[in-house]
């Protein structure tokens, strides 16, 4: 089985550090090292690091690079060296293909970080849409290993490797040198904590991982990553949203900038903004003992009203859930969630569960 799975360049290092490796969309990645809860706590209180080398990197280059990005993305980007932003990529109907973070390298080059499971699909989509633009789209994912370093103490710790790291603004990118290799550092993350994500060669990122292990940066797996992102109310592309959902339905309407120039899906989204949506991605907490899971159905007065797309156990908030439910369901409303044939009481809460400190 394993020979069909891809390994990141940090595979050996993760195994050596005690990583319990699992198949994640065709990649062998650590689901946990010591314990998901211990890793979660390290990121909230101190510092943790995640192998995210499976993520994709795509470059838009050419005179129309900016124009093209504005056309394929819903958010409104700026031409300012180093500046990045989060956005959705949607189809003509406004359905979400993926979420991305794109950074301006210069006015003719944008660096786009995409999800691993959707990377090939995104790349094919961009290639097809680029035909009428003076832009070259290239998938450079194989060139980069990537480590996400997250937590309130991460920047202090990394100051030893890059004394200017704290000057990097939130959602900006910069080039730097670490262990003699060139790296790209972005002040971004998926945990709700401050931190950076660092991309570089396999050799450099392996050196960084090894350095982190000896500098109180705890290796963390996908389990902690999923828990941290759900606490922070971040969507998991392909799981919490896909082409059957629009950014409005995904409770992410702020990434749609209808007042910018034309972009793919704009007409459909403008129409939906006017008519409104019937279901939105909403948060719930169980008020009775139990843990709900992805796929569980939501009921109110014995009527099925929705379903969960993500749910787990948080050491802080206990059984947390998120899924699609009627947009008119008020905060505090009591619902029931069916877990293995048993209905458990839950209440709707305002997302996120954890207010990030960034």
């Amino acid at each position: 089985m394993e020979q069909n799975l891809q390994k990141t360049s940090l595979y050996e290092a993760c195994v050596k550090a005690g990583g319990k490796m699992v198949d994640f969309h065709g990649w062998l990645l650590p689901v946990q090292f010591e314990s998901i809860i211990a890793e979660h706590n390290a990121v909230r209180s101190s510092a943790g690091m995640f192998d995210v080398s499976h993520m994709g990197q795509i470059i838009f280059k050419g005179p129309d690079a900016y124009k093209f990005l504005q056309y394929v993305a819903t958010n409104n980007f700026k031409v300012e060296t180093g500046r990045g932003a989060y956005s959705h990529i949607v189809n003509e109907n406004g359905g979400v293909i993926d979420d991305i973070i794109a950074f301006c390298i210069n006015e003719q080059e944008f660096f786009v970080v995409v999800n691993s499971a959707t990377c090939q699909k995104d790349y094919a989509w961009f290639k097809e849409k680029a035909k009428n633009f003076k832009v070259e789209v290239s998938n450079v994912s194989a060139k980069y290993s990537m480590l996400a370093l997250q937590g309130p103490k991460v920047l202090d710790i990394l100051g030893e490797l890059d004394k200017d790291i704290k000057n990097l603004k939130r959602f900006y990118i910069k080039k730097a040198t670490m262990f003699g290799g060139e790296v790209l550092i972005t002040r971004t993350g998926y945990t709700g904590e401050d931190g950076v994500e660092i991309m570089g060669s396999a050799d450099t990122i392996n050196k960084l991982f090894a350095w982190g292990l000896t500098h109180n940066i705890k290796p963390c797996g996908l389990g902690a990553r999923d828990l941290l992102r759900l606490e922070s109310g971040y969507l998991l592309s392909g799981n919490d949203m896909d082409e059957t959902k629009t950014p409005y339905e995904a409770s992410c309407g702020w990434v749609v900038k209808l007042n910018k120039e034309d972009f793919i899906g704009k007409a459909a989204l403008a129409k939906q903004k006017e008519t409104g949506v019937s279901q939105v991605w909403s948060g719930f907490i169980l008020t009775q003992p139990g843990i709900a899971r992805e796929g569980c159905k939501i009921y109110q007065n014995d009527k099925e009203i929705g379903y969960l797309t993500s749910a787990t156990f948080s050491p802080v908030y206990k059984a947390i859930c998120a899924g699609y439910a009627p947009s008119n369901l008020a905060e505090g409303s009591e619902v029931e969630i069916e877990v293995r044939g048993r209905k458990i009481k839950a209440k709707k809460i305002k997302m996120p569960f954890y207010q990030d400190k960034i």
């Binding site: 946990q32 998901i36 809860i37 828990l227 003992p289 899971r293 787990t312 156990f313 050491p315």
Partner: protein
């Protein structure tokens, strides 16, 4: 408390500590380690009939839910209420304070289907 060398094991990683016509049941150290961070246990009710090999409790970690299959058939006469407040007891002492329930055995012959500690270890 329930010395693993004196327990009988199922292939699905449950143990039974048999004393007369009763048995205390729990999960093996290997199983608690594999499940990791146990955060919730759905216990059977006292008086419930459990059947060997059938799911009768659920052990949940942050990541997933695992069925607990009764190692022997019988009637539940006691459950470990402490697990409601502190399910991590199973991680800390799977053969001690992390026991799950106690049954009155209904079919003593089923014990023959279980493995000794050494035989169980050999399956891991």
């Amino acid at each position: 408390m329930y010395n693993q060398e004196k327990c009988k094991f199922s292939k699905t990683h449950e143990w039974a500590f048999v004393e007369g016509d009763t048995a205390v049941c729990g999960i093996s150290d290997h199983a608690q380690h594999e499940i990791s961070d146990i955060v919730f246990v759905e216990l059977p009710k006292v008086g419930a009939k459990v059947e060997a090999g059938k799911s009768c409790a659920v052990i949940e970690s942050v990541k997933s839910a695992a069925d607990f299959y009764a190692p022997l058939s019988g009637e539940v006469i006691q459950v470990n209420e402490n697990l409601n407040g502190n399910p991590a007891l199973i991680n800390q002492a799977p053969h001690g304070d992390g026991w799950i329930f106690k049954i009155k055995i209904s079919n003593a012959k089923e014990e023959e289907n279980l493995l000794s500690f050494d035989a169980y270890k050999a399956t891991l």
